[in-house]
Amino acid sequence: MKKDQAVFIKDLSFAYNGPYVLAEVNLALEQGAFISVVGPNGGGKTTLFKLILGLVKPQKGELSVLGRDPGKARRLIGYVAQYSSFDEYFPVTALEVVLMGRLDSNLLGRYGKQDMRKAEKSLADVGLHNIANIPFSELSGGQRQRVLIARALVTEPKLLLLDEPTSNIDVSVERKFASVLEELHKKMTIIMATHDVGFVSHLVKSVICVNKTVVLHPTSKLTTRIIDDLYGKKMRIIQHDKLCETEG
């Protein structure tokens, strides 16, 4: 276990109830890095995140997060899941959702004035200061996603895990989101799973390719061939052109 590493994985294999989803994974990510995770659906991106969060345990190998056991590092991680199973009509406001990130600030889960201030600030950070009291169910897909990111930020994490955060966001919002990430990157390590690295290509230093195995590429060395190998077929080049031009 190394203290200065955000994530350290050695010879890790994991299966749910069948064949290995991830096999023989070795990975070391420095703190302060901005890392993109790419790979086909079902390739194990979300599973890698769940391992880092300590929500599932590997059958083989070692794993430490921020120099700790994954379960113990959990409170230092801000996580935005790809799919969330909310009740569509759940009566809860955007601000209340963000406040859930402050649940562990005391034993009973009561929110103080400071928690309120931090929640309002996180909402402002993702450009949503004016919708604090709107019900979550009335927000657009992109707004909901940003509320969930604000909820992850209000936990004041050292490591931010984003699982396909842009899948519901349109291009104009994506640009705003990129500048939000740029600001956050000054303060924390960011690991983001995505199909489209393009919009943050100037920030991303390394790309992890996950498809049962995990391979780390500096962005400068990432070519279309690697991506083709990874996805097992020709990708539309438009989706990755920015990435491939980028000098890391």
Partner: protein, 285 residues
């Protein structure tokens, strides 16, 4: 205390008075727990707990009439079996990875079967109807006291852990990542639901209680921005339906459980129709 409440009510018959008091007192619990049941989508679990409580009721009647153990009342029997069902369903869901709806159905039917067997072998007493559909004759002063105690427990626990319950109901995985013991709160919520169901099952019966738990909350959900607003509105609606239903049953000689359920059901259908009509109207202009 109870004499004071009696003096506020217009009825001479203490049994009818008890029914009104029980309805008014339980409404608060029903508003709170009903809202959780609706947003967490566990009404099938609640239904299963309600129906399977016949097992405990049957056992209590058997003890009462055959062995003359009088302290073990049907209310206590119902409480115990609802709590046992809650634990079985909750623990199986959390740890055994079985199909949830199968487990719910099994507990539902097994509980009722146990109840039927006990009632069948209970001397002199062969009628399960009044437990299935409720009977205000069951509400003694003693039972009112139990209702008050359960009321206090449910309200205190829910107020104390409101934020945690809200987070667990909204997004269990995230709550877990924030260090909330989600398994504990899930089981606790099921237990509180079990207690609440038994409170009202004495009046409206174990078959109809689920309507009174979910319909006021479902209506309230249409008008609420926050969960606590949903709870307040739903508690108020529950009170209105119970009182209206009891008045109708008193005036027109109807079974109270059915009258209360139809008040809630009628209001629910009406509100749904109105909100559909409103949507159509706004689309057309």
């Amino acid at each position: 205390m109870i004499e004071f409440l009696y003096s506020l009510l217009p009825f001479k018959n203490p049994l009818i008075n008890n029914a009104f008091i029980a309805g008014i007192l339980s409404s608060v619990c029903f508003g709170i727990i009903g809202s959780f049941v609706v947003v967490k989508r566990i009404s099938a679990i609640a239904g299963s707990m309600a129906h399977s409580s016949l097992g405990g009721i049957g056992f209590a009647l058997f003890l009462h009439y055959n062995i003359a153990i009088l302290w073990f009342t049907p209310l206590i029997g119902a409480l115990i079996s609802a709590v046992v069902s809650a634990l079985i369903i909750g623990l199986v869901n959390l740890y055994a990875s079985q199909r949830e709806d199968t487990v719910i159905g099994a507990v539902w039917a097994i509980g009722m079967a146990i109840g039927l067997i006990f009632i069948f072998h209970t001397k002199k007493y062969k009628d399960a109807m009044s437990y299935l559909f409720g009977d205000i004759l069951f509400i003694s002063g003693e039972n009112l006291l139990i209702i008050v105690m359960l009321d206090v427990i449910v309200i205190a626990v829910c107020l104390l852990f409101y934020n945690k319950f809200l987070a667990v109901s909204f997004d269990q995985e995230f709550a877990k990542l924030r260090g909330v013991r989600v398994e504990f709160f899930y089981i606790l919520l099921l237990l509180l639901t079990a207690l609440t169901i038994v409170l009202m099952a004495t009046i409206v019966g174990i078959l109809l209680v689920i309507a009174l738990l979910t319909l006021p909350a479902a209506i309230a959900g249409l008008f609420s921005k926050k969960l606590w607003q949903m709870m307040l509105i739903s508690a108020f609606l529950c009170l209105v339906f119970t009182v209206t239903g009891l008045l109708l049953s008193y005036a027109y000689d109807l079974p109270p459980g059915a009258a209360i359920t139809l008040c809630a059901g009628g209001a629910y259908v009406l509100v749904l129709l109105l909100s559909q009509a409103k949507n159509k109207f706004f689309k057309s202009i």
